[in-house]
């Protein structure tokens, strides 16, 4: 491996033996069995693959983002500083302006127009779209033993933020795309760390006839899984760490760890460039996943999912990005089996 | 037979020595009166006996056995009960609940309300007390509350009963009733310790008098029948005292304060019913009456603390309306009935308390709302000197002063503003003889300088000694107006309890 010698000299005393990078986690912090943990996993993978080392910080509030980024930048030790959550955009832009020679990376959000920021993200709806399609099929398909005759699904969201609404929109669009009459119950928990409320909401969804509930809710997701266990229905999580082998219909995967690995790889290869990279279903970064699950998805269903994935990759199908757009989108886009 | 002996009791509070090696004994079937000025240590001695505070040194013997009372419950178990100087009642509880709490009937964990109620009713009828067992205490008059306190003690079947100033809030008639009860209890074999500042009462009820002064035992075997009240008070104070002698007004002037059609409504009931009266310059008008007959409401109306239903108040012909600050500004001074809760801020300094209520006057406060600290401290020093307030400095907290000196702060504050009229309520309640004498003199001086004084007091002797004219208040109405000496104490007592017919009949017979 060769180091990116050009920028090395400019920014001073960088670790000569290997790449050193820093990660600024989201306010939720590690241990969420979700996004933050997956980024951490990516950092470890990158460290191992490229012999890199990394430091990280778990900020406690919004005001701390800027301080931590500055401190990382100030030390001049890092080849790249990675900010991982949407709330950090403001801080990142401010700091990036003050340290033009320092490379930054923004994950999961598009930031453009800076010479020292590279952003890698997936389109919000992509993560859950294919799972939505699968759920839309499964709820009406007798080959899925835990589903019921009713045509109802559920989606629980931690906080009512634009990002979360975009993610939910992906799931709902997926389900309606294949099953236009499906009803999708959506609920907001109000916290990333309140599994008890999450469980209660999921229980009510199941009681109201939903047979598959998907969750994108940080640590609160645990509650949805527990509700699925109690009701013996399907559940869809967002992380490899968050599965119930007998009841997880799929995992709505966004392979954020790949973002980190790619980023470090580009540094390692000297191909790092500012700008933005958007990845998603076409690149295989977002997908439904069944690793470690005991549920058999019939081949014809897999074929449909593959077909839809191709359509998206071709650009035949573009996805809606907010809950408000769904109805209109669904009336225009329908999949005919 | 000796039932209690306290030996060489000392109590040191941070900053004060409350008791210095006091010995005290109590015999069976005996009523002992404990005398002493404010701060002499009477309450402290009794609190030690009752297990509420630990003595710094000394020993207590109960029937010859040495005992250590760590908590009141230890004393209660030995049959020692105490009625406190300040009421120890729960306003939100009923009379029954207040009486039984802590010594409920029955042996299981559940509360037997029926049995408790029956026991209390029996007790009430046995001692001919007039209290509703199911009434909430917050609705009771002060006298009734006092009776509940005594019922609490009786309910606990105490052998030794300690009463700390039980008569301060009672009418003469109620005092008689109380004393009758005490005598009956004595006949039943109980021993009683009573603390009072009224020497007349001491002479009437006590078998033996014990005198404390400044934490020292002065004499523990005075026979009340063999000493005069003058001698008793000199024992307490340590020097000669001039007892209240009437000093009638020299020249009564024009009408100063005129109150017409005063009606006050509270909780939908008329507490003061269309009362009118006038006070002249240089006159003390006394209002006698049992507490709870509308005194508080009259005071509040005349000081602007409460909006009466109707009232026309004029001061030297000018009408006064508005808030209490307007009344103060108009020249109506106010010595409130409870010095600590209404008249003073005990956490603040003597100096700060000496301008309370007058702090917005231009003497103490600039137009921009700044306090003129230099003027204020000079003023406070002057008052401290003029009114003989005993305090370490004007910067000491009021809480560090004795009751009498606390009262002096209020007196100095109000009197030195030369009010045209002044409302004075219970000015000497709980104040010792020395300070009482001083306050009375100040009142008379103020009157002689031309102020109109409205004196409201539950102490009939005080009203009779100071007033130039006396009204009797009963259930919110003025039932009698008389000149001092016109009516006997008994007659006034009857009027105060609603017996005006009898008085009038008596007069007609004369």
């Amino acid at each position: 491996g060769q180091k990116n010698s050009g920028s090395d000299n400019e920014t001073g005393n960088k670790n000569e033996d290997g790449i050193k990078f820093a990660v600024l986690f989201g306010a939720g912090g590690l241990g969420d069995n979700g996004y933050n943990d997956e980024v951490y996993m990516g950092a470890e993978m990158a460290a191992e693959q490229f012999g890199a080392t990394f430091d990280y910080a778990e900020p406690k509030d919004v005001a701390e983002f800027e301080t931590q980024l500055r401190a990382f930048a100030d030390s001049g030790e890092y080849d790249v500083i990675i900010a991982i959550s949407t709330e950090q955009v403001d801080a990142l832009k401010m700091v990036a302006e003050d340290y033009p020679e320092q490379r930054f990376c923004m994950l999961d959000t598009i930031v453009e127009g800076y010479d020292n920021i590279h952003s890698i993200s997936a389109a919000y709806p992509d993560q859950h779209f294919l799972s939505g399609v699968l759920a839309g099929i499964a709820t009406q398909d007798e080959r899925f033993p835990l589903s019921n005759p009713e045509n109802i699904l559920g989606f629980t969201i931690a906080m009512d933020t634009p990002t979360s609404r975009g993610q939910a929109a992906g799931f709902i669009a997926g389900a309606k795309y294949i099953n236009p009459d499906v009803e999708i119950l959506t609920n907001f928990i109000g916290s990333y760390k309140d599994p008890a409320t999450a469980k209660e909401l999921a229980l009510m969804m199941y009681e109201r006839g939903a047979d598959i509930v998907s969750a994108n809710a940080g640590s609160s997701t645990q509650g949805v899984f527990y509700a699925a266990e109690e009701k013996n229905r399907y559940v869809i999580g967002t992380s490899l760490a968050m599965i119930d082998p007998d009841r997880s219909l799929a995992i709505s995967l966004k392979k954020v760890w790949l973002f980190v690995v790619q980023e470090i790889e580009s540094i390692h290869n000297g191909t790092w460039e500012p700008g933005s990279t958007v990845l998603g279903i076409p690149e295989g970064v977002c997908n439904y996943d069944t690793t470690g699950l005991n549920i058999q998805i019939p081949d014809d269903v897999v074929a449909i999912l593959d077909d839809i994935r191709t359509k998206i990759a071709n650009g035949e199908l573009t996805l809606p990005t907010d809950l408000d757009q769904i109805d209109e989108w669904a009336s225009q886009n329908q999949y005919h089996r | 037979m000796e039932i209690i002996r306290m030996e060489n009791i000392s109590k040191i509070y941070p900053g004060t020595v409350a008791l210095k090696g006091v010995d005290f004994t109590l015999n069976k079937q005996e009523i002992v009166s404990l005398l002493g000025e404010n701060g002499a240590g009477k309450t402290t001695l009794m609190k030690i006996l009752y297990g509420m505070t630990a003595p710094s040194s000394g020993r207590i013997f109960y029937k010859g056995e040495p005992v250590r009372f760590k908590r009141p419950i230890d004393a209660i178990e030995k049959g020692i009960c105490m009625v406190h100087q300040h009421f120890m009642l729960v306003p939100a509880f009923t009379v029954v609940e207040n009486i039984i709490a802590g010594s409920e009937p029955g042996s299981n964990i559940f509360l037997d309300k029926k049995k408790a109620r029956q026991e209390v009713i029996d007790l009430i009828s046995r001692f001919k007390f007039n209290v509703d067992p199911d009434a909430k205490v917050e609705k009771l008059s002060v006298g009734e509350q006092q009776r509940v306190e005594i019922l609490k003690v009786l309910y606990r079947k105490a052998d030794v009963i300690i009463l700390d100033e039980p008569t301060a809030v009672l009418t003469p008639h109620e005092v008689d009733d109380l004393f009758a009860v005490l005598r009956r209890l004595k006949d039943e074999g109980k021993s009683i310790i009573i603390i009072t500042h009224k020497l007349k009462e001491t002479k009437e009820i006590a078998d033996r008098v014990v005198v404390l002064r400044d934490g020292n035992l002065i004499n523990d075997n005075v026979d009340p029948r063999k000493v005069s009240t003058k001698e008793l008070s000199e024992m307490m104070v340590g020097h000669e005292v001039n007892l209240q002698a009437r000093r009638p007004a020299k020249h009564i002037g024009e009408v100063c304060l005129k109150v017409e059609n005063l009606t006050v409504e509270e909780d939908g009931k008329e507490k003061v019913k269309n009362v009118s009266f006038a006070i002249h310059h240089g006159e003390i008008l006394g209002i006698a009456g049992i507490e709870g007959n509308g005194q508080t409401q009259i005071i509040e109306a005349l000081t602007g603390l409460r909006k009466p239903k109707s009232m026309k108040l004029t001061l030297d012909g000018k009408e006064v309306t508005g808030k209490s600050s307007d009344f103060l500004k108009a020249g109506i001074g106010h010595v409130p009935e409870d010095r600590l809760s209404m008249g003073l801020v005990k956490e603040m300094s003597v100096m700060e308390n000496m301008i309370l209520g007058y702090h917005r006057e231009s003497e103490f406060c600039s137009k921009k709302g700044l306090l003129l600290k230099k003027q204020i401290s000079q003023y406070a020093e002057k008052l401290k000197k003029d009114f003989l307030v005993k305090a370490a400095s004007i910067y000491s907290a009021v809480s560090s002063l004795s009751g009498g000196n606390q009262q002096k702060i209020i007196i100095s504050r109000v009197f030195s503003r030369e009010p045209k009229a002044i409302i004075v309520a219970h000015p000497t309640r709980g104040v010792d003889i020395g300070a009482t004498e001083y306050i009375h003199n100040q009142l008379i001086e103020l009157r002689d300088r031309g102020a109109a004084v409205l004196l409201i007091s539950a102490d009939l002797d005080e009203v009779r000694a100071l007033s130039d004219r006396i009204l009797v208040l009963y259930e919110g109405e003025i039932v009698s107006e008389s000149m001092p000496g016109e009516l006997s104490e008994v007659e006034m007592g009857l009027l105060m309890t609603g017996g005006n017919y009898m008085v009038e009949e008596g007069k007609q017979r004369d």
């Binding site: 609920n187 | 630990a54 908590r71 709490a101």
Partner: protein, 305 residues
């Protein structure tokens, strides 16, 4: 949105389930206030209960023992409040906040120290929802009660027992006397300090129970800050219910009901506004003068010796 009997059943069942932790914590608040100590520390005691019940269940493998552990440590945390306020005369709002701060700091730390995990604990043995088939035969009520956890019934029992304790027993009367007028209580020979400690310890136990209900009753693990402000809501409910176990029960059901209703209204109105409504309603009730009594007269007062 179809609005049928199913939905109705589900709302009622959910109301009961989500009111349980509120009932328990606010009941704890009752004991505290009715012994004369303000109850601002419920949140912290509850969080401690959540964590330690999980730890207890983890160690023993038994949910009941876990619950016991949770209650015990709820009480242990309440003792910080008790010692500061009762013995050292600190303002109760401050000592209460101390408990909250301590629990928020200590639980993640212990999570890290004991389980080596951050954010949440491993999954432990929890109270399973009992399978009461026979209940389903009882019309209406059976379906709703059948959807409840055993702890729900324990909570109801505790409400009744607490009410009897406070209003029908001698100790209850004495404890209330302490809260109304500690001086009076001490003069009739009651050990005011002991009663206050007892009330606070009970509040710790019950808040610990409430926390345990969240972590091993509703759920099967601990998540940092999982009480999510329920302790503060319990403080509100306690005042709303006039510091009476029955009132507290009613107030908790009220809040639980709003929680359950949210699931339906969130799809119609912005979620934040829906979540805001129970507070607006409570505030209105207080503004109309129907609730929010000042409580026992002697709360926060001390007796000198």
């Amino acid at each position: 949105m179809t609005f049928n009997a199913e939905v109705l059943y589900s709302i009622v069942a959910s109301t009961l389930r989500s009111s349980v932790p509120l009932i328990l914590a606010a009941l704890g608040g009752c004991f505290s206030v009715r012994a004369g100590v303000s109850d601002l520390g419920l949140e912290g005691m509850m969080l401690a209960g959540s964590f330690f019940s999980v730890l207890g269940s983890y160690i023993t493998g038994n949910a009941w023992l876990g619950l016991l552990f949770g209650m015990l440590f709820g009480a242990v945390f309440s003792m910080l409040h008790a010692v500061m306020h009762i013995t050292y005369r600190v303002n109760a709002s401050i000592s209460g906040m101390c408990v909250n701060l301590l629990a928020t700091a200590a639980t993640p730390l212990l999570l890290n120290e004991i389980f080596g995990m951050s954010g949440k604990s491993p999954i432990v043995e929890a109270f399973k929802k009992p399978d009461w088939q026979w209940m389903n035969n009882i019309p209406v009520v059976g379906r709703i009660l059948g959807a409840q956890n055993v702890l729900f019934f324990v909570a109801i029992l505790l409400v009744i027992v607490s009410w009897i304790f406070m209003y029908k027993t001698k100790i209850g009367l004495r404890m209330r006397m302490v809260s109304e007028n500690p001086h009076a209580a001490s003069t009739v020979g009651l050990n005011v300090t002991a009663y206050k400690y007892f009330g606070v310890a009970m509040s710790g136990c019950l808040a610990g129970f409430a926390g345990a209900y969240l972590s091993i009753g509703q759920m099967n693990l601990f998540v940092e800050e999982m009480t999510a402000g329920r302790g503060y809501i319990a403080v509100v409910i306690n005042a709303f219910g006039k510091y009476n176990p029955l009132g507290v029960f009613g107030g908790s059901i009220f809040f639980g009901f709003f929680d359950a209703l949210q699931t339906i209204f969130q799809n119609i109105f912005p979620s934040q506004l829906v979540m805001m409504t129970p507070y607006v309603f409570t505030l209105l009730v207080i503004a109309l003068g129907l609730g929010g009594s000042r409580g026992p007269a002697g709360v926060g007062k001390h007796v000198d010796n």
